[in-house]
Symmetry: C2
Subunit: 333 residues, 2 copies
Amino acid sequence: MVATDDKRWIVGVDLGGTNIVVGLIPTEGGGVLGRRTLPTDSVRGAKFVVDRIIAMVEEAISDVTFSFGGSREDVAGIGIGSPGPLDRKTGTVINTPNLGWRNFPLRDLVANATGLPATLDNDANCAAFGEWWMGAGRGTSTLVGLTLGTGIGGGIVLNGKIFHGCSDVAGEIGHMTIESSGRRCKCGNYGCLEAYASGPAIALRATEGIETGAETILPDLVSGHLEDITAATVYDAAVRGDAYATAMMRETAWYLGAGVANVINILNPEMVVIAGGVTHAGDTLFAPLRAEVRRRAFKAAEERCQIVAGTLPGTAGVVGAAAVFKQQHFGAV
Amino acid sequence: MVATDDKRWIVGVDLGGTNIVVGLIPTEGGGVLGRRTLPTDSVRGAKFVVDRIIAMVEEAISDVTFSFGGSREDVAGIGIGSPGPLDRKTGTVINTPNLGWRNFPLRDLVANATGLPATLDNDANCAAFGEWWMGAGRGTSTLVGLTLGTGIGGGIVLNGKIFHGCSDVAGEIGHMTIESSGRRCKCGNYGCLEAYASGPAIALRATEGIETGAETILPDLVSGHLEDITAATVYDAAVRGDAYATAMMRETAWYLGAGVANVINILNPEMVVIAGGVTHAGDTLFAPLRAEVRRRAFKAAEERCQIVAGTLPGTAGVVGAAAVFKQQHFGAV
């Protein structure tokens, strides 16, 4: 048990391109209390976003201290997860295309406004760390997390700590080239895993096939508006038995399998946790994914690695951000 | 300074598919003493190879103790590097296609015959660790090593320790897919970096082009025997200004660049050390390699990572094997 100065809760903040999620996590671990979600509305500017985060933090603290008895003094501090790249030491977001920020001192703005100490780490790192602390990865010592969404975020947990590399960039698994002259990725590189298996990439691949004449119910599901096709539409069609959509899901599993096999050959982790909307597809995705990994990865590594869905949908990032705070302030999680 | 029980030397053994290299390394670090190299001759069977290793170890010890004054008592033990996969705990080589061994207790056979304690680790891990201890990587804390030869070996050093993963497989960077439906690799997977940028892969790509009519001096360099083309032949032709061979070297750099960029995006190391015969090509290889990495990797990671040639050609494995022994027996290197 780590000494936590008798503080009962840590606030977790998961700042995403679409939503902000905030909640309190018991210092000793547990579920998210006082959880609230609001749109990020980043177009309204950085000040708006920071003010919204601060308001959500204060509301969550009021809620929880009121419901459970206790006071603001029982809150140890705030762990913030944000898109990167970022500088953990200075608490600065260096550059986030999704939010349009540059060298933005997010951590200290939140800490100064609330009067609480705060930490900053990458959102995908936090999601992986959350699954390690309280989710699918409990009890493992080496884990890799992949979050499939608008992009593909990655986080590496080694010996119970997030692995950051020498300049806080480590874990960018979504930007691993799996086709060296493949699709252009938003990051500027070619053939990244993200360019094939993120939500928008799945939708794009499906739409391209339809434009070249594939037979499928997908256009019917979006009343002919192909631009409305999302990864969820593709999954829906697959569930309804659509052969084309099923093939698209299998192709996604195939690309993901190449990426996960790479992770396994390089890092030999005990577990790969996959989170995000795409995982709702369940075995439609995981069965061919595991088969592809078996086909590609070294047996001695693959047979020691569980490939599982995350068990903290929507809250892994909040839990992990709080865990980062705990580790940094109390020495261990 | 680590307490080393007043032992003066550690024996390093680098067992490869082609050669065995043995030498003594001063416990506090330094150059290889009493170095000797003999062919592995694995076709003569496992007993022959082990006997040869033991004889080489004894000769190296006699040589060095005679030359420098001292006795067998001054030797702390033996670090062995071997192709894997292997089990470090039991000191067993699980399976090496190149040597034809299965579940072979290499470490204890050598230890029992010599009466000296021994350790076993992967050869590519040892090469990376050797470069970290005494070579290009001195003073770094995070380093990735790639050895380009018959295959592509990889080793990861994190915080001054070899990173092994959960079943001693970590670091198989040569078997990272960079073309998900690409060339078949000896490991069974498709599109591995090794299938494009190892010595034999470079020769094969060059030969394929010639068979489809490429204009080049390469056939002349091997008196028309295309099967004699090696990576060194391709490099020779490039140095002589052959456009086709130069393009082949650039293509090699391009594939390597994709692989190194992946390593940088995932592990964000301070340094990538590239060793092996192909590095004799110098800037013919490194200039386009660095350019390709810049094009692909995250700026915040790439600009913090040096990509350099190893500085211990032929001995990195021996030095690293000794370093593994030192770390395991004396706690630190």
